[in-house]
Symmetry: C2
Subunit: 361 residues, 2 copies
DNA sequence: GGGGCGCATGTTAGCGTTAACAACGTGATC
DNA sequence: GATCACGTTGTTAACGCTAACATGCGCCCC
């Protein structure tokens, strides 16, 4: 009679195990483990021997075993709302990269910011043995979702919240400074009639961007000859459609603004579309800038001058933070908020204002 | 003196183990395992008892242990090229969902279709112990990448290739039929002067779409009164910019086409932008349709009538297929290619042609 | 020159789960 | 009433790895 299949199974698995490597290198498995994990307590000669054995056998550690033995391999939840999918894409790339590095799984869950739906989502995450949650916008602002998560005692890292709660872990950029910088840039190009399209009022980043814009304008009027026309502003909602509406109103003003700063790229793209419809050339007759540097910014023509948020990097950082907190069993005492640098990306949609009077609508 | 920390450690891990559940329910761990995994050989009373215990203790199986014991938990590679990030986003959502379901990890790797870069990417994947690879467009067409992968003897599933190789696993839609359907739809609206913008020549889906378009036109001329003007066509490259160029040429034709079918949404968006610039109203003066139903289709105004590819579903299917093949240790004998249904999404960019003569440029 | 210290390596005992087999009871069958 | 089959449950031994501890060796210093 045959022995149990399992024991006699002829190495279906292609990969060598740590034991094979150990035998090959003439050391104990533990030493191999140490080399692979970069422990300091290995002599350089042994290390070299082992490394060669690893290479020769094409060994690579079994994740499951490693996770089991070292009590890692947790699952993190990613609660995403109604995201710009360009945003989600980059976010996922960054988050997955970091998750793989930490040997952690990522579990996605879609969620709306309503009590019923978010409760269900959180429950599903819990039933999926998730030990921490990533909260990208726009959900990071939803107090309902946040309450639900904290009731479940899940550690949370919010991403890109304009004004993160003091007691919550958060990765974000400085929306205020970014908007300030962009506005200063427009001013430095020579623009004086500036207009702004605000972002969705339920996201705190919108307000920060607006404040940055006004701060730059104040610098300008303080620095020079007193009173200036008040900044033109329209409320938008981050959607292309809302940008179109805002653009129509702003371009109807007399005299028309020479530069429009939209709070995100979708709305900036809408401004360009509307400008073209009116026969205005961008940037000759009108400068348009956006925010976020999402896909659409470099898709349309002319390409948008905008503020780049390193979304992938932020997501990776958020995963790092969450893994750290989960493994430590508590929130980190310091560095609860991590500020990521942004960048002003200059493309073709911004230029100095046309000295000739802009065409009247 | 203290015992080893490990043994005395007071249950840091929140989750109960299978043993806890077994004790609680008064059965053996094996029985619990059977209930959890839905084995048939459990009496219904025992099953209920165990299920209650599971619920009461909030038990959820440890993935790492399960993977280790059942020799699962493989890693799949996702080689992505220069993707539309809208595409990548949806793709990732679907792939991750399915990967989580199968208890499989996903490892991302960026790659260009050049020998050097792709070789490096494949090597990185191998060193990451990847056992199979997903190949979304545009990489699925790169023979260099494919050769590199097959040299490494990695099973591969390509996604959305227009004409999948017969011996390769593939998930795709019927680009030909979809284009045929869309063109018939335009004809049914009353359009006669149709124009087409081709997709990038290095992707076989482009050719399929073009063939679908011409086939529909042929039906039309066969069905009715003989000769018709030949279809107008411009070569595009899937980019917004190339769509703009193509649109300029097509709209300069006399008499101008009443409907333009672009091979993807980015190019369709460009056609709309160019039409607006010329003072044409879409869809009153010009019907524009796209393909793919990516983000931009429902972002711009008017929203695009387009063909929807269920990208997330295709990605999930691809993961299913790959996991199946890997676990079986070979390619499935049948169903090497899976055809996913598409859908024609009718939005605002298409309408019946304007009976009044279109304005001359 | 013995005690102590520090680096390098080996040994042991699990981590939580499941595959394979064993064992047990309960009826049905001859 | 012994036999056999079947449905149900339990037992055992891994899966591949690493934490914790143990050991061994060389070196330095009072």
């Amino acid at each position: 009679m045959t022995k149990p299949a399992r024991r006699s199974r002829p190495k279906l698995r292609a990969g060598a195990t740590i034991k094979d490597v150990a035998r090959h290198a003439g050391v104990s498995p533990m030493t191999v483990s140490r080399v692979v994990n970069g422990s300091a307590y290995v002599s350089s000669t042994t290390r070299r021997t082992v490394q060669r054995a690893v290479r020769e056998l094409g060994y690579s550690p079994n994740l499951a075993a490693r996770n089991l033995a070292s009590e890692r391999g947790e699952r993190l939840g990613l609660l995403y709302g109604n995201p710009s999918s360009a945003y989600l894409s980059e976010f996922l790339v960054g988050a997955l990269e970091s998750a793989t590095r930490h040997g952690v799984q990522l579990v996605l869950e879609k969620c709306e910011p309503t009590p019923v739906v978010s409760r269900r989502a959180v429950r599903r995450l819990l039933s999926g043995a998730v030990v921490g949650v990533l909260l990208p916008p726009p959900l990071c602002e939803s107090s309902v979702v946040r309450a639900e998560l904290s009731a479940a005692r899940l550690p949370v890292v919010t991403v890109a919240s304009g004004r993160p709660a003091a007691d919550t872990m958060c990765v974000h950029i400085d929306d205020y400074s970014a908007a300030l910088e962009m506005t200063r840039y427009l001013i430095s190009l020579g623009h004086e009639r500036l207009a702004f399209i605000k972002g969705h009022p339920n996201q705190s980043a919108s307000e920060e961007r607006w404040l940055g814009f006004t701060a730059a304008l104040e610098e300008l009027s303080r620095g020079s000859h007193g009173a200036r026309p008040p900044p033109r502003m329209e409320q938008g909602f981050f959607s292309f459609r809302s940008g179109l509406d805002a653009a129509r109103k702003l371009l109807a003003i007399e005299p028309a603004p020479t530069a429009i700063f939209a709070s995100n790229d979708d709305m900036a793209a809408a401004v360009i579309a509307e400008a073209h419809r009116r026969g205005l050339d961008v940037p000759r007759d009108l400068t348009v800038v956006g925010f976020d540097d999402t896909l659409i910014a470099s898709t349309i023509w002319p390409e948008l001058t905008t503020i780049q948020q390193p979304i992938a990097r932020m997501a990776a950082e958020a995963v790092d933070m969450l893994v750290g907190a989960v493994r430590a069993g508590r929130r980190p005492a310091d560095r609860l908020h991590r500020l990521i640098p942004h960048a002003l990306i200059s493309r073709q949609s911004a230029a100095a204002p046309n000295p000739a009077a802009p065409p009247l609508t």
